[in-house]
Amino acid sequence: MTPLDDIDRDVLNAIQDDLPLSHRPFAEVAARIGLDEQELLARITRLKDQGVLTRFGPFFDAAAMGGAFCLCAMAVPEDAFEMVTELVNAHDEVAHNYQRAHVLNMWFVLATETPEGIDRAADAIEAETGLAVRRFPKLQEFFVGFRVAA
């Protein structure tokens, strides 16, 4: 990948903020960082093609749509790890899944359209794997001001 130049960094920092709901939103953002609209769009497109951006668009909150998220963890024996990974990942409700260095070595997020869907999916995974699915639903979310400083 070509290294990011200073303008790319300005672009990356600017486009992590909320895009205006206007007719020409990219023109507004471009003006803020001293670019023209075409140049900004070309750079966003290139950053996306290079994989620097995963996507550009709305961040949806499934919980606000009546759905639910739940962080889950399992203690998976090393020799069964690949098999269990396949069984877990095969569920569409599993949004992402990470191996972590701990007794609880598999951590994944379930995202379902209804709150009842969480236990349904977790129970199904328990039945398929014979392993407990520990559930850590959120009690409270703290506002995060995170931005990647490019």
Partner: protein
């Protein structure tokens, strides 16, 4: 809350992202047979209710060199968690910050804060920074370092309903 049909169609159309064209809302509205004004009105309403948090870029941490992530977990006094959780969430390097239930006997932790960095030392330094803020209000902590991504997908809305 439940979503109306129009909102579900809008969400489905935007799951893959917003088109990178000068008038993106107009382009999306046309594919849905809506006016641009109507689409913008629904997007504004969904922001109001929290269904849409923001319209923005999702950077790939790995491609920006932030290849390490650690899930730091803390056992914070219940009567201080609201105040301290808000402080930890506000740190620039924390991407997710939640209060979750403790699960005794082996899981005493109730505050989860995800940190990212370019190497193990950097995430260790960030964990130390959180520890300084929490001080004696945290009785125990741990950091679960990610060793492998097993799956990563965005939100997918079903076709039913």
């Amino acid at each position: 809350m439940t979503l109306g049909t129009t909102d579900r169609e809008i969400i489905r159309a935007l799951q893959g992202g917003l088109p990178l064209v000068p008038a993106p809302y107009k382009a999306v509205a046309e594919t849905l047979g809506l006016s641009e004004a109507r689409l913008v009105q629904r997007l504004a309403a969904m922001k109001e209710t929290g269904v849409i948090r923001r319209i923005a870029a999702a950077p790939n941490h790995y491609r920006l060199g932030m290849i390490e992530n650690g899930m730091t977990v803390w056992d914070v006094e219940d009567d201080r968690i609201a105040e301290l959780g808000a402080q930890i969430g506000a740190l620039s390097f924390v991407t997710h910050c939640y209060e979750r239930p403790r699960a005794p006997p082996d899981w005493p932790f109730n505050l989860f804060a995800m940190v990212h960095g370019s190497d193990k030392n950097e995430i260790a330094a960030k964990r130390a920074e959180i520890r300084t803020i929490l001080g004696a209000a945290s009785r125990a902590d741990d950091m679960l370092v990610s060793t492998r991504i097993l799956k990563k997908t965005g939100l997918r809305l079903g076709q039913k309903r």
